[in-house]
Symmetry: C2
């Protein structure tokens, strides 16, 4: 239980200050933060809140959005790296972006359908960002997203692909995220988790709901409410040598509508029953 | 254009007789049939309708549903094989089924979360069915479905996994389906299509819509309405030696609500512009 980390968006109504306080009250020792909430709270104040509470920052969400190219995206990622360094975050989660021009939830306008080119652009941007992160002691964590988000959120779709992308870079600069929701279906998941030894920067857990809700982004459930068998995945991640925090990240309309204290109590109970670690 | 095949559910309001007639009127030379519609029309009558119209039957949809085990599923698949033989279908499309107990669109009840076991059950059932299909000259076509359907429709999620499953069996007994909607996102798709040489039993096309509709089963669009770049996939399938029909299969509420003749005209136009082959 000491490895449980609360990703702030599991209790999305809570500000950074409220989430830090919630962690302390519930005996949770680590927190995953989101950039926009840190900005709203103030970066310096967040650093102080987290330090005073004695919490570890298991991740900062998120950098990425690299597929459309341009200096602006790189500059914003450098700022995200600086923030992660300031917060002492174990990693900066990278959601690489979808096909150029595709906007989540919006009808298609002018887009690029060249998926290999979009993927290549991610590799190029990473080559620019990894040394910058390395100089600041920040680890970029490439997050493969479920293939249903390939068009609109991340052209990085499997753990194997994330490891291929990470390979040219030192493991302390570029690691990967293993998120049960995104990888549970993959016939190669066990082999790729084993291959990820030394590269696992974050292990995130939540369940995959069936049926999916109308907005598939919100198809994440509290562990036990969906179809995922967590123990083998947790076991494989441990076998690969990962000893860091295990972050619970749930995007779900019902969870967000519920009392955050009740959510955190339920998350703790289910984590103990189902996730292990 | 001579390789275009109309999957009957693209014009779902049409009976078999109407779809056959539609193909003739629009100069489409092949049709993909669905078992329940064939049953409604009568098997013998369907055989005669198709023969009189001079159409090829590019596929019969569908066998499968093998993950829950039991004799009943095997018996039903043997009947499906018999029907495919009677129709002279180029293949019987196999949708292997989701996790035992998971019902599409329904809240979860008692289910199995053991995904490797469900996948193993498919391999076992296939070992029983392949020789039966071989004796009747029917080719089983394993269809990997998009990973978003792993829980509720098919634990077969990638082309690579389908080829692994097919490998123990002669290519004329067990092939695979390459469906653009299901495989376009896969970082390994080009390598796996090349590996599929001699195993491609069906090439199906439709687009992947973004955003997805509330019912993700209906996220299939007319070519050009979504995010898929068809030419490279068609090229790879041709390079792998596939010269059979190219079936257009679109599950989409708007398409189903439209005049089937207009749908077929649009499908023909977009096929010519975008799919090639």
């Amino acid at each position: 239980m000491s490895r449980l980390s609360l990703n702030q968006w599991t209790t999305r109504r809570w500000s950074v200050a409220e989430a830090v306080d919630g962690c302390v009250r519930h005996g949770v020792e680590a927190i995953g933060l989101w950039r926009q909430d840190v900005t709203a709270q103030g970066l310096a104040e967040t650093v102080k809140l987290v330090a005073d509470a004695g919490l570890r920052v298991s991740s900062l969400c998120r950098g990425g959005f690299l597929t459309s190219g341009g200096r602006q995206a790189l500059d914003d990622n450098r700022r995200a790296i600086d923030e992660a360094a300031e917060l002492g975050a174990a990693c900066l989660v990278m959601v690489v972006g979808g096909l150029p021009g595709v906007v989540p939830g919006e009808p298609l306008g002018t887009i690029s359908r060249d998926l290999p080119a979009a993927r290549e652009r991610v590799a190029e941007a990473l080559a620019e960002l990894a040394p910058y992160a390395g100089e600041r002691g920040v680890r970029l964590a490439l997050e493969p997203l479920h293939p249903m988000y390939c068009a609109d959120r991340a052209v990085l779709s499997t753990l194997g692909q994330a490891l291929d992308l990470a390979e040219p870079h030192p493991p302390e600069q570029v690691g990967v995220v293993v998120d049960t929701f995104h990888v549970w279906w993959d016939p190669q998941v066990m082999a790729q988790i084993a291959r990820a030894a030394g590269r696992i920067a974050s292990y995130q857990v939540c369940d995959f709901l069936s049926p999916l809700p109308a907005d598939v982004l919100l198809g994440r459930g509290v562990m036990g409410d969906g179809v995922i068998d967590f123990a083998p995945l947790t076991g494989a991640v441990a076998e690969a040598g990962y000893t860091g925090d295990i972050e619970v990240e749930i995007f779900n309309a019902d969870v967000w509508a519920a009392d955050p204290d009740e959510v955190l109590a339920l998350v703790k109970a289910r984590f103990g029953e189902l996730v292990g670690g």
